[in-house]
Symmetry: C2
Subunit: 400 residues, 2 copies
């Protein structure tokens, strides 16, 4: 066979793969829904019924808004270019109304129950259910004297928790802005990630607590933000109030409740906190204000708090100078971990890279992890969790 | 003050209540969403942004489709007449597209993540979180040799399960058609109902298992039902296959898993099953086929299986004659419980009433409960659960 013929054959087989496709219903669909579909080239095909609509667009939150095409049967369709692996939030815009796709499982994001499509990562199964012992995820309710309300949280208990008598370390793991306490299980698959890491022996069995990151103190009256600019002073003030209330709720109500309810190792050497995006900011605020309670800190695509700090981060003075003496800090905090996806928006990426550089220059020991080819999305945070948790609770020494 | 003046004052205050209203955001809204709103007359006000739409309708599944009114700001609004108490599913129709309201919590119903609005029932709080000990709800994963897949279930554990050494009876509690294993917690508030009933001493502490009622056997290929009539023979065949697979999954995989995983009393005297609508049919099929496993049976707006039985129900011959000898049946089955809402569709109501009459005429001991003024909706099933569970596990004698 001549080289030209081989090249032609290769090219035509590539065309075949790209054109006819091998689309299958996404694993994120509701029962029996045939769309969205994903092919082996990671392209996504959406189909949505809107017979009388003038305009339907699909809006991938980390991608672009694209016009869908109306078919004669009243359905609108659209096929994406190859997408990065992971769970991609999207909504549909129907004549100006931003709505969810009824064929998708609903995931709480963007302050609503949004749609998302799962694009598999070839050869990767650390976040899928496998034939290993499975932990349980419990929904628990606690009364918070800070908020004056009943609040719920999700708690992952490692396999065999019920039959063992062991006490376990605890990771507090927070969702991002516009998400809630359901995110790390529904979107993040944190339970399967932990099951698999614990089964392979790379991560110590631990309890993971996922709380709701929004809180307001008893009697607080939320101001009307209608017409106020996003990230303007009124907005930031609300955010500051809520983050402070969450910090209080977590340290005064949630942690005591968890330590009373579960067989925890209730000291700072066995307590970690991490969070994504807004949850990373909450993590930095809560842990640095309470280093008596935490010794492991993770910021997943979010760390420090640029809004409360006026955009500046000075390692020497930040958090009342907790890191001013890098060697004392390294003894006290067993892990400072920062991660970002290489395809995240520039502002996010450069913010975290510059934090990493500042810490390096100041000689503050930390881990900086970059997730290749992923955006400000859950695949980045799944990978973060996979890199972060094996580093937890490996230090035996007691510290204060 | 003259009588006429008093009447006028009363009338004007009524008008005030009915016209200006005292609308407040519904408890079923997502965080910070100002709409839907409910007033003290149980009227619901919906507001939805769709600036370029020609037609927007609100579709209350147990009520009517109503045209919404376009406002100059691009929002559409609609206010209902006073509604029955409880959680009402609804969707919005935007130029022919049936979608969920982004302001509502998403509840899995109608085979999609739908919207619903909670209308409070005046003076009634048995399904609200109160200052009593709270149980936990656990999500567990089990591998089913029947379906060949990992399946999940939700398990309510009564307060103090972790600290007691007691073994508990188990109620298997099923959702309806188009719903899933999340329904009894998210829509039904089953955990709060049990918490409150257990705290008042009227219900024995028990474990409640909520599984997914849809299953297919390993290797089953779902036929394409496109264009096939709803409840036609192809549809019924799929339903029959799925209900049989669910019965096998429950009796061969789920029950053994639950009895292995939790401190249960693993015998028929301490095992109940109930379900709503399709779940009621599944309950009758599963329990009557396995009276060695169950001794308490509940059908909430669904019992028997009219589809598989060709619409006929003969007490003497039904379920291989299990009820042919009423006195033997009453000794074997401690509770046969049937319920229906007085405002349910005629076919549903007359079906259950006729089952009740047939059982009465044949002398088969059972409880027939009617929920006043409620439709084929969750308020009926919350009340059912409240009436049903205090009757469970009160019989000490061992039976076979």
């Amino acid at each position: 066979m001549k080289l030209a013929a081989i090249v032609l054959l290769l090219a035509s087989s590539l065309c075949f793969a790209q054109e006819s496709g091998d689309f299958k219903p996404a694993t994120s669909n509701v029962l029996d829904a045939q769309y969205p579909q994903v092919d082996s080239n990671s392209r996504v095909r959406i189909r949505f019924k809107a017979p009388d609509a003038k305009n339907v667009k699909v809006n991938f939150w980390s991608g672009e808004k694209s016009a869908m095409e109306k078919q004669p049967d009243g359905f609108w369709t659209f096929t994406t270019r190859p997408m990065a692996p992971g769970l991609h939030y999207y909504t549909l815009n129907v004549d100006g109304a931003e709505v969810s796709d009824p064929a998708s499982t609903a995931y709480f994001g963007g302050s609503k129950w949004a749609s998302a499509v799962e694009v598999p990562e070839v050869g990767v199964d650390y976040y899928l259910p496998k034939d290993v012992p499975h932990g349980q995820v419990r929904q628990v309710w606690y009364h918070s004297s800070v908020t004056g309300t009943w609040r719920d949280a999700f708690v992952y208990l490692p396999p065999n928790y019920d039959t063992s008598k062991t006490r376990y370390p605890v990771l507090y793991l927070q969702h991002g802005g516009g998400e809630d306490e359901t995110g790390w299980i529904r979107q993040g698959k944190a339970n399967f990630i932990l099951d698999n890491l614990i089964a392979s022996g790379s991560t110590k069995p631990m309890i993971v607590v996922m709380a709701n990151g929004y809180a307001t103190r008893v009697g607080y009256v939320m101001p009307d933000l209608t017409g106020k600019p996003f990230l303007g002073p009124e907005f930031i003030k609300v955010m500051q109030e809520r983050m402070g209330a969450f910090e209080d709720d977590m340290t005064q109500a949630l942690i005591p409740f968890i330590d009373k309810t579960f067989r925890t190792l209730p000291d700072r050497d066995h307590r970690a906190m991490a969070g994504l995006s807004m949850g990373g900011m909450e993590t930095f605020q809560t842990t640095f204000n309470h280093l008596d309670l935490f010794s492991y800190i993770g910021g997943f695509s979010g760390a420090g708090n640029p809004f409360l700090m006026g955009g500046k981060f000075d390692v020497k003075t930040a958090y009342n100078g907790a890191m001013a003496d890098p060697s004392a800090f390294a003894k006290r905090v067993h892990l400072l971990w920062i991660g970002v996806g290489t395809d995240e928006p520039e502002r996010m990426k450069s913010g975290l890279e510059s934090l990493h550089t500042s810490l390096d220059e100041a000689g503050v020991k930390h881990v900086f992890y970059e997730s290749p080819g992923t955006n400000h999305e859950w695949q980045t945070w799944r990978r973060d969790l996979k890199d972060f948790t094996p580093r937890l609770f490996q230090t035996a020494a007691k510290t204060r």
